[in-house]
């Protein structure tokens, strides 16, 4: 929702003076990521503590006698002081133990592993749409700066920021599924294609091609097109806007004048020289916007009954299944932190000045 340059690309302080530069940077990055992750766990831990659901009662039932209740309290470690409870919590999470989901009775991590590919497939197709359409749009807007293509693209982008994703999804279903019949409805597959393909990667588009089932592939694509377009529109708005401002900055540089004076074609100047340089910060923009799609997918998944991580978290939330909610929150937060780190690293690799 925010369209400001990523702050992740800012140079971070070194770890210890006296170490070689690259090692210092690497350790500094690592320490900052570890601290951020620890903070994330602290927040989820505290949220888990203030929930008005008594975890002991949830485990033993409200008719249990006092001594059974007390035994369970000790078994769950709730008699320990808070900081010891937190240490135990961190240890468990690092082992990948998020507890059991009350709703599915599976370990939360197992559930997340099952639902995550659906979200990944949706977010990946959306970011592809966002990049393939958004970058050229931004370039055109920058080249035609201040004229009507620029205004049209600017308004399109602002509408993309302003529209509620879940509403756009509902209206899209109404128009393209119910009235026009151009796309398939909610869910990942039609019911009679369900179970035909053995899940290997969990990405149906990949699995169906590997299994040699083109019919399943096309059906899955039909289901994916609308939610991916809705989400893709959101990232397109962000990416085209960032591309525009980065391109405007590049196009006003002196090397562009030199390139033009050399007699290079305008297309080469714009798409090769200017975009080539704008690409460095743009990569970080794209990485961060990939992360925000994971979040944007929460409401989209509800509307499209898409069995992904967002659907899982919301469904657990509505059923007071806190282990699943907090486990999901940690996973999404960890992916976010990972993408932040990745964009930081990419920036350093691509831009020699930042090394």
């Amino acid at each position: 929702m925010a369209y400001f340059p990523p702050s992740g690309a800012a140079p971070r302080p070194g770890f210890l003076p006296g170490l070689p530069g690259w090692l210092n940077t690497a350790l500094g990055l690592l320490a900052s990521v570890a601290l951020t992750f620890l903070g994330l766990l602290l927040v989820t831990f505290l949220i888990g503590r203030v929930v008005p659901i008594d975890p002991v009662l949830a485990a033993v039932g409200d008719r249990a006698p006092a001594e059974v209740y007390e035994q369970m309290r000790i078994a769950l470690g709730l008699h320990l002081p808070l900081h010891e409870q937190f240490l135990a919590y961190v240890g468990k999470v690092l082992e990948g133990d998020f507890g059991r989901s009350v709703l599915t009775a599976n370990p939360v991590l197992e559930d997340i592993r099952r639902v995550f590919p659906a979200t990944l497939e949706l977010a990946t197709l959306s970011i592809l749409l966002g990049v393939l359409i958004g970058v050229p749009m931004g370039v055109v807007a920058a080249v035609r700066h201040g004229r009507w293509p620029d205004h049209v693209i600017r308004v399109l982008g602002l509408v993309g920021y302003s529209v509620p994703v879940f509403w756009l999804g509902l209206m899209g279903l109404l128009l393209f599924y119910a009235n026009l019949g151009w796309v398939a409805g909610p869910g990942r597959l039609d019911i009679y294609y369900e179970g035909l393909v053995e899940p290997v990667t969990g990405l149906i588009l990949v699995d169906s091609l590997v299994a040699g089932e083109p019919e399943v592939f096309w059906n899955a694509l039909g289901h994916l097109v609308l939610p991916a377009s809705v989400l893709g529109y959101f990232s397109l708005a962000y990416i085209s806007r960032m591309t525009r401002s980065l391109m405007l900055e590049q196009l006003s540089q002196e090397y562009i004048v030199t390139a033009r004076a050399k007699g290079l074609s305008e297309a080469r100047v714009v798409w090769r020289h200017a975009l080539g340089n704008a690409m460095v910060p743009l990569v970080t923009v794209i990485a961060l916007s990939y992360g925000s799609l994971l979040e944007g997918s929460v409401l989209t998944e509800i509307v499209f009954a898409w069995p992904g991580l967002g659907y899982y978290i919301t469904n657990s939330l509505l059923n007071a299944d806190m282990n699943a909610v907090l486990g999901g929150t940690i996973v999404v937060g960890a992916v976010f932190i990972g993408l932040n780190l990745l964009s930081d690293l990419l920036y350093r690799v691509l831009d020699p000045r930042a090394r």
Partner: protein, 310 residues
Amino acid sequence: MKALDDRSAGSFSAGPRAWLMAEAAGSRRQARLGRWYAAWLVFRRNPLAVTGLAIVCGLIVVALVAPWLAGHSPIEQNLQARLLPPGGGHWLGTDALGRDIFARLVHGARITLLIVALVAAIAAPVGLIMGCSAGYFGGWVDAVLMRITDVFLAFPRLILALAFVAALGPGIENAILAIAITAWPPYARIARAETITIRTSGFIQAARLQGASASRILVGHVVPLTSSSVIVRVTLDMAGVILTAAGLGFLGLGAQPPVAEWGAMIAAGRQFMLDQWWVAAAPGLAILVVSLGFNLLGDGLRDVLDPKHG
């Protein structure tokens, strides 16, 4: 002598415009008003920004006069008149309980405005205080405060808000609190960056030499200078706040029935999508228009107040 004064400071009798545009202001108030007027002249030239301002003003007016504008009660049910199409006595038709959709939309503007105002009133001061203190004191204060900010910044907003609402329980107050908790970190970042650029300036050192306390310097000098960037960012964020609030409402975690909240209205209209599409369409359009208004306004304000990011 009198004539010279008139020319340089501009007298009010020569017309408010001349007074506002005077080269040298005669009083502090005149200088301030004149600066605002100059900003308004730049702002006015941008039709998109003016549209945004009109939409936001429209929202405020509608929220103020809602009971007189609505014509119907937003919560009174009439099961004989369920799901009526737009037209007749109901401009936008009725919902599944026979409530007038237009009346509910108009009253929903109050909820939206309340959410936006409270989130801004909680998140902006928190962000300003955190950011300005971090930037002004530096050292370990900076390290600790910014690490906390980073943690909150690393969270996906909607998911964090979801987790908070899960812990606090559904309801509009908790939704506002949850959104505010997730909204302040960018303000802290901006305020810190601005503070660092001004903390070594001469006037701050002069104030310090005069014996002003750190809190006095922060509140009297640093915060006012950093607030214009923060205000721009807050305005730009309001669209996101409206969308998050609507999303929470859509999930049933925001305002509880029978309160008219736009996101919850979309959720209620969802099951009648196929035959009575207007029930879900109208509140969605309202959200779109209002958040577009805030985006346009924020964009225009940024061009005026913060030209370096233009």
